[in-house]
Symmetry: C2
């Protein structure tokens, strides 16, 4: 019986992924014991990506971003994306030989054309330009056009930490949310990430989507036959629903905080796709559809040079103090401790670096099949 429920569950996910273009974020919700070391998984990703045409460096960049997400427990942006990236590269929807180009740059700003490269390659390139601009002008802001899905946004924001700077990253993405009051997908679950260096404490890293919830949580509720909060999803008529089945069947994710999440998602789309001359709103292709067509994705990468405002060491002490103020806040009932953004991910990172990255049976099967197809050694 459990097997049947599981098959139906995964069938639904697959259907959703391949027919509607949404994200199988919940494949990792299965309880499993199989684990692979980050290093072995990284080598595997690189091998696969090289086999489908990327050069070693670009394959390394992309793999670093995927493994980064898995290590931090953000499995929805980890190796679960490897197959679709490989499929898009093979189908020509992503150009494995694309050359990135700085279209223009001034004091603080730069416009980059990714020419349909891997999103990760474009994101890292854009962030490097933003770091240069910030070093020169105090603030750097780079918009990248004609790119693709770039994985976990925090990865790029955190590149600024090594330079003792504050990093920002955002991207638009395939439509999956309606504007408040609507019932058709017109905006992506667009994420924004901000990374702030601390002094003796670990950095603060906020990486948030503008939607209320990931599809994975709705699929889980479906599987467990539980109601969902009315703030999570809409049914196909556009009405809020507490029925996960109605949400999963042609429903939509709601923006986080109602009109606020809608507003933030719209602003991210404007600061990326609209501003750069790239695709936006319904013009943007989903990662899982039209594998042979460019997605038209756009990113924003920005960097703030702290020492233009305050000595970096003093800033670090002050960030430590605000972290202490959060940690020391008296907790609500049944709350063990209070976290700052990014702290849980840092803890999972340490744990998984030591113990390996868990791979669920479905993902294991998918990666094994990919390995066989590409004639690459699989560590799984």
């Amino acid at each position: 019986m459990k097997g049947i429920v599981r098959s139906e569950h995964f069938l639904q996910i697959r259907l959703r992924v391949f027919t509607e273009g949404t994200i199988p974020a919940d494949l990792m919700t299965e309880k499993i014991d199989f684990k692979v070391s980050a290093e072995a998984l990284r080598i595997f990703c690189v091998d696969c990506l090289v086999k489908v045409g990327l050069n070693q460096e670009d394959a390394g960049t992309t793999s670093d971003n995927l493994i980064f997400a898995n290590l931090r427990g953000v499995d929805s942006h980890g190796v679960i994306r490897l197959k679709i990236y490989a499929d898009r590269l093979r189908a020509g929807g992503i150009d494995c030989r694309a050359r990135l180009q700085v279209v223009s740059q001034g004091g603080a700003d730069a416009l980059v054309d990714a020419n349909n490269s891997m999103g990760q390659v474009a994101g890292v390139f854009g962030m490097k330009v933003a770091l240069e601009r910030a070093a020169e002008s105090g603030f750097g802001i780079v918009v990248v056009r004609n790119s693709n899905h770039f994985g976990a946004a925090a990865y790029y924001a955190m590149m600024a930490l090594k330079e003792g700077m504050i990093g920002f990253a955002a991207t638009n993405s395939g439509p999956s949310m309606a504007p408040s009051g609507g019932r058709q997908a017109r905006l992506g679950n667009n994420p924004l990430a901000i990374a702030v260096p601390a002094g003796k404490h670990l950095p603060i890293v906020l990486d948030m989507a503008t939607g209320a919830v990931a599809w994975g949580k709705i699929f889980m509720a479906q599987q467990e036959k539980k109601r969902i909060p009315l703030s999570w999803a809409l049914d196909e008529t556009g009405a809020p629903t507490d029925d996960p089945d109605k949400a999963a069947h042609k429903g939509l994710i709601q923006p986080t905080g109602g009109h606020k999440g809608y507003g933030l998602s719209l602003i991210v789309d404007i600061l990326t796709g609209v501003l750069s001359g790239s695709a936006f709103s319904t013009h943007l292709k989903s990662l899982y559809k039209d594998l042979q067509s460019p997605s038209g994705c756009a990113h924003l990468l920005a960097v703030l040079s702290i020492d233009r405002f305050i000595p970096t060491s003093e800033f670090g002490s002050r960030v430590d103090e605000i972290i202490d103020l959060m940690w020391n806040c008296p907790p609500a009932p049944s709350v063990e401790r209070i976290y700052v953004p990014g702290e849980i991910e840092q803890e999972i990172h340490q744990e998984r670096l030591a113990q390996g990255i868990p791979i669920n049976p479905i993902l294991k099967e998918e990666l094994s099949a990919l390995a066989k197809e590409l004639e690459v050694h699989a560590p799984i």
Copy 2:
């Protein structure tokens, strides 16, 4: 009976304002017919502020910001603040003769010390510097320290629209929210605003607090003896409550979207108070407490020069198109139309410009008393 309920209601508001330092945002929820023209109300504000020591120009700047909020229907940031501003100016908590100072400026960045001036004066000054920086460097980012409550954030962000640029404004504020999992106020309901010029359409203006709701809505539910959603507030133990009485009695507002609103509020505090060397978290004074002490508030004002990325006219057409895509989204049941951020406020602005700004009886009484005290003519 209604009179008694109302008295109790207002008594609670007053108590909350003067003992706990929160905001009487609901004074405007009373249905009233009394209206004053924006121009008459502005003159009244200027007269009062000049009487308590501001010069004509600074009084004008402050009044413009208050009337702007009232015109847009954001009455919580309108003339309802006049008395507390006057009280703080008289008590010395705000320095009516403060001189603003650009501490440092580079390519994109500048640090301004408000030296405890009126927040509105500091906000406008900071935004002017940000506009200069953006004209020179493509992006301008100004952090203002040692300032005070600056009213509606959208006012500053919208200053960029006249220059055909995108404006950003954020501020920290007196603690009124706990970090997720906490039960003590450690962060403000810190707002951020972004204004984007369109082509033929009106601009998009997002002005959002990082809290789930304004106190006013909780007070209204109390008055109407209605339950509130569990996502709005915490009781004094830190547990989510649907009882507005428990929320109002030593409770707290919840961050919008749970940990996301908490993260955003924390980031705003870091990019303003922490970065500038001003007050942050619990070090920040509430507008309604310690009237003789500086609040230590800090603001962030930023401007993006669109034509560094794309011709402004092309950007305008693209913004028009994304607005059309939102407007034309099929609506959910019982939804008449879909709005873009700032659109409702624009409509109220037109209406109130023509018909006047409504003033409820309690506010009318407060302003009349202030007028009498300061020997100023009241238009009410």
